[in-house]
């Protein structure tokens, strides 16, 4: 069985964990929640093993490199980072309701990577520009940051669900979602972590670009869009920390920020640029 095959099965694990989280939210039964956590954790373990297997496999065929070098590998890592970060939060907050929002994102990333005809899952050798120690640091920080922003995005969606049901508070699904102030706080924490990681990602990218392309900043569309994303989240942090914004407006900014993340990741491929190996 190839590594890509193993990873394609993980797609289903996340689909089933989504179903279990959904059942928990709709039926309000703790057992489904526990099952969901177990499936997700099992998925993450399998996912990690698939990644390691792919890494080892690349060395076996003589073109060894970390599995972080093209769109397929980045999607797989993105999903991995999302699930890892989510499970940490579930464990810290002892609340499973984020799961029903976040697992579909991981599922979609895995499904897109594994089943889209446009994505090549073969292990490919690195072209000269990618042969750098900065590859791992850059991709790792960027995608962990994206995962934190994905969680912030889910928390913002949950904020709107919670608010919509505010006067009655009877809807079971919404009842399991934590209070708006907790959501707001978590949203901020995720954005702060994501912002730090995105900054590290941009910096490691600049250091790398400086040695590969001779300039630390060249206004390549991906660079520019990562800056746009950075500016949006910087606006988020300033409006919260200095102007004291809370709640709805921050939730909107967080959603706008995540749309920028998605555009930086996927949309930019439609604009030509230096990052073309990520397509």
């Amino acid at each position: 069985m190839s590594d890509a095959e193993i990873l394609s099965y993980i797609t289903f694990a996340y689909f089933f964990s989504f179903l279990a989280y959904l059942l928990m939210m709709v039926m309000g039964r703790e057992a489904f929640g526990r099952a969901a956590t177990i499936i997700t954790l099992a998925g993450l373990i399998g996912h990690s093993m698939g990644l390691i297997y792919r890494w080892v496999e690349s060395y076996r065929i003589g073109i060894g490199h970390a599995p972080l070098s093209n769109l397929y590998e980045s999607l797989i890592f993105f999903a991995w980072a999302i699930i890892l970060l989510y499970l940490l939060i579930e464990w810290r907050t002892r609340n499973r309701s984020v799961g029903v929002f976040i697992t579909p994102i991981a599922f979609l990333a895995m499904a897109y990577a594994s089943y889209s005809p446009n994505i090549n899952s073969r292990i490919q050798p690195l072209v000269p520009a990618l042969k750098s120690n900065w590859l791992i640091a850059h991709v790792l920080t960027c995608f962990l940051g994206y995962a934190a922003f994905a969680l912030a995005f889910c928390l913002s969606l949950m904020y709107f669900f919670k608010r919509m049901d505010k006067p009655s508070g009877k809807n079971l699904f919404v009842k399991l979602i934590p209070g708006t102030s907790i959501l707001d706080d978590l949203n901020y924490q995720m954005v702060a972590i994501g912002f730090l990681l995105l900054t590290l990602g941009i910096i490691t990218g600049s250091v790398w670009a400086h040695s590969a392309w001779g300039t630390y900043w060249s206004w390549d569309p991906k660079e520019t869009w990562s800056l746009i994303t950075w500016l949006v989240y910087a606006a988020f942090l300033h409006s919260r920390m200095v102007r004291g914004w809370r709640g709805k407006r921050l939730a909107i900014l967080s959603i706008v920020g995540f749309s920028c993340v998605l555009f930086t990741y996927f949309g930019v491929n439609y604009l030509a640029g230096l990052h073309s190996y990520a397509t």
Binding site: K131, I203, W213, I228, S239, V242
Partner: protein, 467 residues
């Protein structure tokens, strides 16, 4: 005292630049301008859409510098405004952060002991003095800046940590200014240039990327060799130039340059950026006299060298070699000097047969391309030597260290801002009717949840100390 700082605040200029609303507006403006820059083709690519637009439109775009957004005057004004906003906000707010950093004497704040929650009050079996001294020892191990006030009925202990977190934001702001400064230095003092060096050749001048103007390096660079390796699937594996740096004609440094492994010499950095192949100096010629193929002579000739014709009735030389002449592939220019009269010039092609098939009669009709222009001889190009040239990017950017210092400062600033907080703890040990009680309270500049957790653990530790 506070009046002193308020003085400048009256001016509308100061008020305008101290507003965080302005910061948010600038951030959004920068974001919108950047989006425009990624949607409108920039610089070299601008020509692609320019000829589909009306001249008036092109004129408008040019005036607004929309084809080079990131280097336009208005983009620079936004960035300058951001720098100014950061600087002025920081100057405006720094004194109060400094005050919080220095801290007033915590012992004076007795109001903190109002409404201490019951789980932060406990009785101890040890005496008042003993309790205070144990707590003070514990504080000395876990906190900074401990103050103690002993009284007859009660002792108050004050301790704090993480006061540097007040500076996190300023460090981040300063880092942005450093990065902008580094960028400015780079664009004013530095340059970005390119140069192609054929294998075996030496250059001492490079050409600016922006306008092609030559820049003298002050030393010379020779390309000893260029190699390119491919993977089995045809993807490139490695580009490598072996360079020799020469000063006053003497080699000083002999080093390879690869993608991701640039080389700096005298403050100028050389990056492997492209390569290409070009005609070498040597070609293999076949010279035929009667067209029968018998008695043909094969000679390897170097560009510029003069050779006698096989029958000594004149001389010829290869005056030019091109890797791709008029899109017809490799070609060489032959110059024949008859014993008397004007020289005869014509081009011969490596792909003669293919060209003949494509454009029948080309060679007969135009004397410029006629390989039989000097009868009775026919000249055939048998082999063309090709050699690589390496394309190097040549940069000088003294602003780079500022940018890296700024990046490091920014990360340190983030850690201070997001993950540390100024935590202050007060403990009161009071004695009433022989009964000793301890009260624990605390304040933090951010993360109240974390502070509660910290107070829980402080209370727990102190309780264990005094049992």
């Amino acid at each position: 005292m506070p009046k002193k700082h308020d003085k400048e605040k009256g001016s509308p200029f100061w008020d305008f630049f101290t507003s965080v609303r302005l910061t948010i507006v600038i951030l959004i403006l920068l974001a919108v301008a950047s989006v425009a820059g990624t949607l409108i083709p920039q610089r070299e690519e601008a020509a692609r859409i320019a000829h589909e637009m009306s001249p008036a439109m092109v004129q408008l775009f040019e005036t607004l510098q929309l084809f080079d957004v990131y280097h336009s005057f208005w983009f620079r004004i936004i960035i300058a405004a951001l720098g100014l906003n950061l600087l002025i906000c920081s100057i405006d707010r720094f004194p109060s952060a400094w005050k919080r950093f220095k801290g007033s004497d915590g012992l004076e704040r007795t109001a903190v002991f109002k409404d201490v929650p019951s789980h932060r009050i406990f009785s101890v079996s040890t005496g008042k003095e003993e309790t205070s001294s144990r707590i003070s020892q514990w504080f000395h191990r876990h906190f900074r800046r401990i103050r103690i006030k002993n009284g007859s009925q009660e002792d108050v202990l004050y301790a704090e940590k993480g006061r540097y977190s007040h500076f996190g934001v300023y460090l981040v702001h300063l880092s942005v200014i450093f990065i902008l400064l580094g960028g400015m230095i780079g664009s004013f003092v530095g340059f970005e240039a390119n140069v192609n060096i054929p294998e075996g050749e030496t250059v001492d001048t490079v050409f600016l990327r922006r306008n092609g103007h030559p820049v003298e390096l002050g030393f010379a660079v020779q390309c000893r060799s260029f190699t390119v390796e491919f993977y089995d699937n045809g993807a490139p594996k490695e580009y490598k130039s072996e360079l020799i740096f020469l000063e006053n004609g003497k080699p000083v440094l002999d080093t390879p340059v690869l993608v991701n492994h640039p080389v700096s010499f005298r403050g100028i950095t050389f990056y492997q950026s492209s390569y290409g192949s070009m005609a070498g100096d040597k070609i293999l010629l076949r010279i035929s006299k009667d067209g029968s193929g018998k008695g043909d002579s094969l000679v390897e000739v170097k560009k510029g060298d003069s050779f006698p014709l096989p029958d000594q009735d004149g001389k010829f030389m290869v005056s030019d070699v091109r890797a791709d002449f008029m899109r017809l592939g490799p070609a060489a220019q032959i110059q024949v000097q008859p014993p008397s009269g004007e020289p005869v010039l014509f081009w011969i092609f490596l792909n003669r047969d293919a060209i003949e098939k494509m454009v029948p009669g080309l060679f007969e009709k135009s004397p410029r391309f006629n390989y039989q222009a000097y009868r009775p001889y026919s000249f055939f190009m048998q082999k063309a030597e090709t050699k690589y040239y390496t394309g190097l990017q040549v940069n000088r950017d003294p602003g780079v260290p500022f940018v890296w210092i700024g990046c490091i400062m920014m990360i340190c600033g983030f850690f201070l801002t997001f993950f540390s907080s100024h935590r202050r703890v007060w403990v009161k040990v009071s004695e009433k009717d022989g009964n000793v009680k301890v009260r624990v309270v605390g304040r933090s500049n951010k993360n109240p949840v974390g502070m509660e957790r910290e107070l829980d653990s402080v209370t727990e530790s102190l309780r264990n100390l005094t049992q």
